[in-house]
Amino acid sequence: MLAQDTFFTAPDIEWWHLSPILALVGGALFLLLVGALTPRWPRGLYGIVTIVTAATAGVFAVLQWSDIDDNGPATIVDGALAFDHLTLFLTITICVAVALVALLTIDELAIAGKDAPEMYAMFLVAATGGVVMSSANDMIVLFLGLETLSLALYVLAASYRTPESQEAGIKYFVLGGFASAVFLYGIALVYGGTQSTNISEIAASFTTTVSLDGDSPLVLAGLALLLVGLAFKVAAVPFHVWSPDVYQGAPNQVTAFMASVGKAAAFAAMLRVLLVALPFQRDDWRPVIWVLAVLSLVIGSLLAAVQSDVKRMLAYSSVSHAGFILVGVEAAGHAGPNDGTASVVAYLLFYSVLTIGSFAVVAVVAHSNGGDTSLTAFNGLARRRPAITLALTVFLLAQAGVPFTTGFVAKFGVIQAAVDVNSYAIGIIAMLSAVIAAFMYLRIMVSAWLTVEETEVAKEQAPISTVLAIGIAAIFTVVVGIYPEWVLDTAESVAVFAR
């Protein structure tokens, strides 16, 4: 009897489906180990290894796309991970973001005189955490992915020895640790209500038992705590207070990384928790998402408009973007098939590229001003660097949602998804807040194009790989903004989750 109880069958490991995660981990270990054992590599080589790693992981994900078309989504590694189009789409998004941020980092570190493999390794570790979050099919695996991402981000935020960077790191760490603990308590309470931490089993426990006196209070309390933790990670109002300080204090390339990979992974986790694990509670969580979305949209745009530091403006703008994405999540929370999930993942891809491009321009301006990112540092930028100012204009117009850019396609997608499920009020609020936010983007553009500096200001340096990152992001924004069909068609299929 005892022998039978302790009998253990090892689960099948689908190595090929795990290959994007393995590539990212392998790249991080390679950089740390070989980087520590060898003398300093030539300038930029650490970054190139990072880009190659991210590209490899991304290609692995692309190659597996048709597997799901043929065989359908599945859970792998004994139900611990989900293998579906949502996983792959977000893996590709994260890999694109890592590659772009690595391009930016090459110059950032060279100018700061800190060329070393650690920051790249942390980027890859954080990206691994993000991919695990987007593919988790078990709450504990989700939590591990979240912590892998968060711990790497705390270190990255505090990675410079400046007082601002250190302050950003400690603020992010204390508040992030608090949010993680709340999230974990939510997992424990949901476990108390459903007797499982596996996402498939959690969802199945509601289909097999019909509760006549409403949902278990443990599950509802757990859901509330999970929502607090997730809202913190996506920086939705009223859980956004950390984001302006951390975005402003962290090094520019780290801010770009947090705004792209951090946000994409957090929203992936939100989709997994709300739509795959707790779809039967959708009438309980949808109003909460509605309130979070409206608060983020309105307060994010209002506070962005009154800032005087461009990094802070972009931080509040990312809060308002989180509000837009929550509009898509709210739409996905309505019963029946709809475009909510597809609009959310498309938004995440477009926004990631946009925000990295924006922060790359901020980095270029900051270099020549001794790290100053205030609005006045952008005065007369067009006279000194017309091409980069043009790219900045593209990013800002796209973030404001002007047609023929990806930002318009993204915003149109979430609002259309909301209107399709008759959430007219939230759609109207989203459009109105886009107008408020446009004022803030116009302020930056006016400063760059129309304001003339009385004193002669030195021309900004434009290092090659940063310019490359800005160029790629700008071309993507315009070209995909004009021909968005292929991305939208690809995003269509993400709503079929592995269960």
Partner: protein, 106 residues
């Protein structure tokens, strides 16, 4: 005599864990020393561990107990990162409290 007959059930531990969690979260909000705030986060994580174990005992399944091991690993990793960041701040500004770290605002 009557008290001796009362057996603690899983519910007792769940209530205790909830209290410890509340102490941790209130402590994080009212204390100003970064190290004490960090201890409060650890308190919260361990309250969750107690919840997991109590529930696993009630259900007689192993999910909750395995979760505790992962949480302990995460808590240990958090100590490494957290103490590193806190020490690097305190080295620059000895005796700094959370209120002193206010260069970033607006």
């Amino acid at each position: 005599m009557l008290l001796a007959a009362v057996e603690p059930t899983a519910t007792w531990y769940l209530v205790l864990a909830a209290l410890v969690f509340a102490i941790g979260s209130v402590g994080l909000m009212v204390r100003r020393n970064p190290l004490v705030m960090f201890m409060c986060i650890e308190l919260m994580l361990n309250a969750v561990n107690l919840t997991f174990v109590a529930l696993a005992t009630r259900f007689g399944n192993i999910d909750g107990q395995t979760a505790v091991f992962f949480v302990m690993v995460v808590a240990a990793a958090e100590v490494v990162v957290g103490l590193g960041i806190i020490i690097s701040v305190l080295r620059r500004r000895p005796g700094a409290t959370a209120d002193d770290l206010a260069e970033l605002k607006g």
